[in-house]
Amino acid sequence: MTVPWRLRLNPILCTGHALCAELLPEVIVLDEWGYPILSPVPDELLSLARRAVADCPTLALAIEPAP
């Protein structure tokens, strides 16, 4: 399975609303303080990942091609 996309978080903007983790529990887990820890995005979750990016209340998430 190829993993061509990855999420990137701006930790300054992120205030831990955690919408992203609700939408993408397979990719995003929360640390004990409620801030997201990201993993690579598999292809089949790409559309959910895009929704997580668009729905982030502080626009702290971005999705970009993995290097």
Partner: protein
């Protein structure tokens, strides 16, 4: 036919007020981070967005029927340009202002990633003003103001928005005492003003005339 249009205007306006109230409630719920396992936050965010779009739909019908209807002299420009109407110019104009604001809020939210979160947030504060403007418009223009069902609707909407605003002001988070105190003071002033104005204006007999309803509408002139 005309009667249908005129009643549609009034009905959709009242439904839109209900929807906008729901939108404000959901917006505040997002802001105070209500939700979690049982009501996921993305559901609240999605409902906030969808209810806004539905509300816009009702408002389109609300404005469209008001224009098409010939009972009151309202034309297409009045739906977009505030305070230019021959019919209750101030109170109708407030509705136009609220509608324009809502349009701007919707468009900027849909383009949020483009305009940046800071600018978006500053703009989004005007959502509260938008709701108050729409509320005053409903009382000032509405033909049903002294009907008990409408009074109940308005009263419930007002109380609910007041409650969530209070919740937001008292919600945990960054302290920012000045901002919170300012918001509380503003809310209080607006509350006193709206109550005072309603008691003295729309809730007293003879409001229609004082509000600027033309003595002879084109419709009645033709009869």
């Amino acid at each position: 036919m005309n009667g249908l249009l005129w009643y549609s205007t009034r009905a959709t306006g009242e439904v839109a007020l209900l929807f906008l109230t729901g939108v404000v409630v959901l917006g505040v719920l997002s802001a105070v981070r209500f939700g979690g396992r049982r009501v996921p936050r993305f559901v609240i965010a999605g409902m906030h967005r969808n209810l806004t779009l539905a509300g816009l739909g009702f408002l389109a019908v609300h404005a469209g029927t008001a224009i098409l209807d010939s009972y009151a002299p309202i034309d297409l420009a009045d739906a977009v340009v505030p305070f230019a109407s021959a019919y209750r110019p101030i109170w109708l104009g407030l509705g136009t202002v609220a509608f324009d604001t809502l349009l701007i809020l919707t468009v900027t939210s849909l383009l949020r990633t483009r305009i940046g979160v800071r600018r978006w947030r500053v703009l989004h504060w005007s959502a509260y003003a938008c709701w108050v403007t729409a509320f005053v418009h409903a009382l000032g223009t509405g033909s049903d103001v002294r009907v008990p069902v409408f009074l109940l609707l308005a009263g419930v909407c007002g109380a609910v928005v007041l409650a969530v605003v209070a919740w937001r002001i008292a919600a945990p988070g960054p302290r920012r005492r000045g901002l919170r105190a300012g918001a509380a003071l503003t809310a209080l002033i607006v509350l006193v003003f709206v109550i005072g104005w309603s008691a003295d204006g729309p809730l007293r007999p003879g409001w229609a005339k004082r509000a600027g309803t033309p003595a002879r509408t084109p419709d009645s002139a033709g009869r």
